[in-house]
Symmetry: C2
Subunit: 648 residues, 2 copies
């Protein structure tokens, strides 16, 4: 457990951010960089000393875990410094040369259970990989992976385990955490999901007017939505899943913008619709507001009765009392646990329930099996790390950001069915690693937390690839499949449609890596004045994942691969990838604004001076507009209790 150091111990002096970068960024030089860097570090002098990050009082609560006496920032280790020096050697090499070295090219790859990973177009040599493994050893990566697997409370700020992998453990596995066998709990809920989804699909569970429930609206936001939506799209055109879903519809309602409600309900009949409310706490503001809106919709079409709610609404939540208060049958509550983070929850009831109703439980099981397969690779730390796909991808991620300075990266699945995968991974990765302190609470003084984006190929090529070729360097991941879900050969074409797609898949990484020289342009006879506009510098790194076919199993594999890539990076960087304290401030301020809007609109109160002039003027302008609907009785903060979001 001592792999994880804890917040609280006094910092070894000064504000981390003021440390001059010395050997860290030999090319960047002075402290000025730190001020200019994209992390707007406020040093102690700023804001009249009110920022005391790094300078704190002795801890009053005993730290949860012991601190190793040899603790240093990862950037202060010899292994890190060696990589910094190595980066300047790498800077003298171009991928054109590196790709000519067949021995190198053939060693920078790995394979596991049908996933073929080729990372030869990364700006690395075999030495780089060795140095990265040395860094991993220094960061005690293996210990941290074991700790995660064993259920230790590695989410130290929330004092929780991180066990999304347990959600897809085998039924006969066992994992006791804090006195409970979590795998048994997982399968209890999965069995419940299977049983309930079968009753809905068969028509045994019907709606209040006796009709079978053909449509599902899953209400949830963030992790309660992006994961299931990505999997839904990935399943949708798999031939078997497609058959299983015939005649059924699944929609996701996430945004509090009432337009989203309109979009979800406009083609549906409430009598045939089941609503799944997804919120672990059953207090997420947007979700509860939408839950009430959905309940109103059901009542407006079928009458205002408890039975309507009991038959048409179910919940994925851990807060059974709140669920019951809302009117949902507690027997139709599907649990998930504290050790499941929102963005890691798609394998829990959050995904299992809506997806099993739509596609059948067997389809969802295959998805879990795929994720389990890559979990096994990730957890197999007894085997050489060179065969551990998430570890390789995570180390390369650290290399690209912290050592080569690439602040963004792009994900290009060459499969239309994965069109929502980049958005899900955007959340998984950015919400996990967009942090600025180590577990112990020290400011990081190295870059962490990439911007992730992407679009399926070939669409992205016609959108932003111009910039990928000629603008900033953005490391890319290309994901492709050997077999298409829908082979199509059109007579007269040189290749099938899938081959056409994949021709681009094979070409783009080389185009990015090689670029095009002025001499090559000249040799083609291009006019001299145009040549600078045609030259691309190349040397832009990518990696390629080639899988057999996109089916539920492969979808699970890809999910787990990218979840664990994020975890590996967080382990190296010594940050907590599993909390998300940064969103709190926005919620608190929104609560204040909500109160102000209510008090101004319905009770004529002026806007408080606690808001700055810009926000006051914006709110005034806003309030002058029509709200467009009326409350019979406006909520009165002085009389009624606003508990943040009560479910009544």
């Amino acid at each position: 457990m001592s792999a994880f150091v804890v917040p609280g111990w006094p910092l070894r002096g000064g504000v981390a951010g003021s440390r001059r970068s010395r050997a860290l960024y030999p090319h960047h030089g002075s402290a000025g960089l730190l001020r200019r860097r994209a992390f707007p570090r406020c040093t102690a002098g700023d804001v009249r000393g009110s920022y005391t990050v790094g300078r704190r009082l002795p801890s009053e609560t005993p730290p949860p875990l012991p601190v190793p006496t040899d603790y240093v920032l990862i950037s202060e280790t010899a292994e890190w410094r060696r990589l910094v020096e190595h980066a300047s050697e790498i800077d003298r090499l171009h991928l054109r040369e590196l790709m000519q070295d067949v021995d190198r090219v053939r060693s920078l790859r790995a394979e596991y259970d049908g996933i073929y990973l080729d990372y030869s177009r990364q700006r690395v040599t075999k030495d780089t990989i060795e140095l990265l493994f040395a860094l991993a050893r220094r960061a005690r990566l293996v210990d941290k992976i074991r700790a995660m697997q064993s259920g230790a409370h590695i989410n130290v700020t929330e004092r929780r385990a991180v066990l999304h992998t347990a959600l897809r453990a085998e039924r006969n596995a066992s994992l006791v955490v804090d006195g409970t066998d979590v795998v048994r709990d997982v399968w209890r809920v999965l069995d419940h999901v299977r049983e309930f989804s079968e009753r809905v699909r068969s028509g045994e569970h019907r709606g209040a007017t006796g009709k079978p429930l053909r449509s599902v609206i899953a209400v949830g936001i963030g992790g309660s939505y992006l994961g299931p939506d990505f999997v839904h799209e990935a399943f949708r055109t798999d031939p078997e899943a497609f058959e299983a879903a015939r005649g059924r519809h699944l929609h996701f309602l996430s945004n509090v913008d009432p337009v989203d409600i309109k979009r979800c309900t406009q083609d549906l009949s409430a009598e045939e619709t089941l609503i799944v409310i997804v919120s672990k706490s059953f207090t997420t503001a947007e979700t509860l507001l939408n839950a009430r809106a959905m309940r109103e919709w059901l009542w407006s079409e079928m009458g205002r009765s408890d039975e309507v709610v009991r038959l048409h609404m179910v919940a994925c939540s851990s807060n059974v009392p709140m669920v019951e208060k809302f009117g949902i049958d507690p027997r139709n509550t599907f649990e998930f646990w504290d050790w499941v983070g929102g963005r890691y929850s798609v394998c829990s009831a959050v995904g299992a329930l809506p997806l099993s109703i739509q596609y059948g439980f067997p389809t969802f099981l295959r998805f879990l099996e795929g994720a389990r397969s890559v979990d096994a690779n990730f957890y197999d730390v007894a085997s050489p790390l060179a065969g551990n796909l998430p570890v390789i991808m995570g180390l390369l991620g650290v290399w690209n950001l912290s050592f080569l300075g690439y602040k963004s990266r792009a994900l290009h699945p060459y499969a239309e069915a994965l069109l929502k995968f980049p958005a899900h991974i955007q959340q998984v990765d950015m919400e996990s690693n967009g942090k600025h302190v180590t577990l112990r609470g020290d400011d990081v003084d190295y870059a962490v937390g990439e911007i992730d984006f992407g679009e399926p190929g070939t669409n992205g090529q016609h959108s932003f690839f111009q910039l990928l070729h000629m603008g900033q360097t953005v490391p890319c991941d290309f994901i492709g499949f050997i077999e298409s879900q829908y082979p199509l050969c059109i007579e007269g074409e040189p290749v099938s449609n899938a081959d056409e797609l994949m021709a681009n898949f094979f070409a783009q990484p080389d185009a990015l890596a090689y670029g095009k020289t002025a001499a090559e342009c000249r040799a083609e006879g291009r006019p001299e004045w145009l040549i600078p506009h045609l030259v691309t510098t190349g040397n832009r790194p990518s990696l390629t994942l080639l899988l057999q076919r996109l089916d539920p199993y492969a979808t699970g594999q890809l999910l787990a691969l990218y979840e664990h890539r994020t975890a590996v990076q967080g382990f190296i960087w010594d940050i907590n990838s599993f909390d998300q304290w940064g969103v709190e401030l926005g919620k608190v301020l929104a609560k204040r604004v909500r109160k102000q809007l209510n008090e101004s609109r319905y009770f004529g109160r002026p806007i408080s001076e606690e808001f700055n002039a810009s926000t006051r003027d914006l709110m005034e302008r806003y309030l002058r507009g029509q709200v467009g609907c009326v409350f019979n009785e406006p909520f009165d903060y002085h009389r009624d209790t606003d508990t943040g979001r009560s479910p009544l």
Copy 2:
């Protein structure tokens, strides 16, 4: 015209990229930065001199336009250097302080035709804005805007005018370019669109089996898809447009992945479907392949006749001969012109045709009117630039990237109907400004070309906002509306659903700007060891756009605003925002791969040694898989001509 300098004149010596940065990045210091920077600049020494960017032979073709004798890179001007110095002053200020200055806050805003822009949360003072205007004068911004408006060939590498604004000019306006009145051409096509869309909507134009055509599939990729798709989503829930679209369906087929075909056609009947093929050249590989697939689908359902194609397929294209060869009636070809770039084409027939069929031509006209409104603001360079919204936004964009070093930016529309707006602007902005040379062909030695991304609010808050608060600094644009399309008041709630959405809209910019100090956390009684994890540094810039309501007019306004923001940045940076040579290399390589796949799959040829070992091994693995369909007669490159993409 001399605002635009031309490629071709001998460079004033040396490779631009080797210039030591001197005063440019005083904080970044040495040349090493240039090697480390995200632009993988290959200096002359690399790759054994084969890169000759900047070092070129005297031009053999006369340059298209005269060169001013005082030409320098914009980064070498006094105005630029003053901004660099100013940036280090700004670095000592925090937005918390800046937002207290009511005079400053109230001056950093502008308004135009219902659009309210508040940029007080940018990391600027009033001095910064003055310095930016001085830079704009030095860059001859006003001349460049006038040149664009007048139809000069500002797209110097393709020798074309840039006149997407003419697409929404008033009918009685006139603009003669190269001897032709382009506005008259625009209205000729718009009238044709109106006439044809009315015939389809009324049922006068029917399908081959006599049925009215209720569904439209628009086939196109990149600019031929992302713009129309964003507008489609924006219109979809506007109450009037919704009524006009009742009973009709519009889908976009873009990807060459055959799964996209399946997704588009699975719920449609060919007898009731009209297919619009969008490709200016009528040679875009993916689009033509999909066009053939669509034609096969129509034929498979209605028989293999010319009449089926004539009645069910139309084209937006300038290549009438190719269109006719495909079998489409040339009278059903809707033209657009060389001076309309793909990513700027949504106001042309590309958007007009499918959107008018779906929503009625009057709806689309209102959209054009909105765009025209902001064009007028942008072109009104006789008035003070402080009232020119695109100019302000463009200058702030340059400030944020080139001077403050923020490599990405995010776009958060607080309106579910704008869910596809960020993806469209991602293309518009990244494909336009992801460049590395000036118009003249010199390497830029300053950062250009941001990464753009975004999600509608509040969804993004539950996804990546953690990183926006605690990770890299990413300047944000928040777009909100005073009136909702669907007001909803749920009894017992403190506020309407729209007010709930907007409470977040008003809160997030202040959360990003102010952050939270350790002292504030301590005052709340948080445990000491947790405090570093709760502190956010704030000082994260944003701007706010508040409009009255989201309707077709406002949609057009927003489109034009962001199109022109991109143009302003390109003008300041002296790059060509209107070409896209970077995508060429990928297309050429894909062509080679396509040929190899054909020759290996159907004629047993081994994979050529011209591919590197990684690509060879990947392709071999791929070819071992099943293609899943057969050609009656495989295309033979030695016998048949592959013209890249023949439409037959």
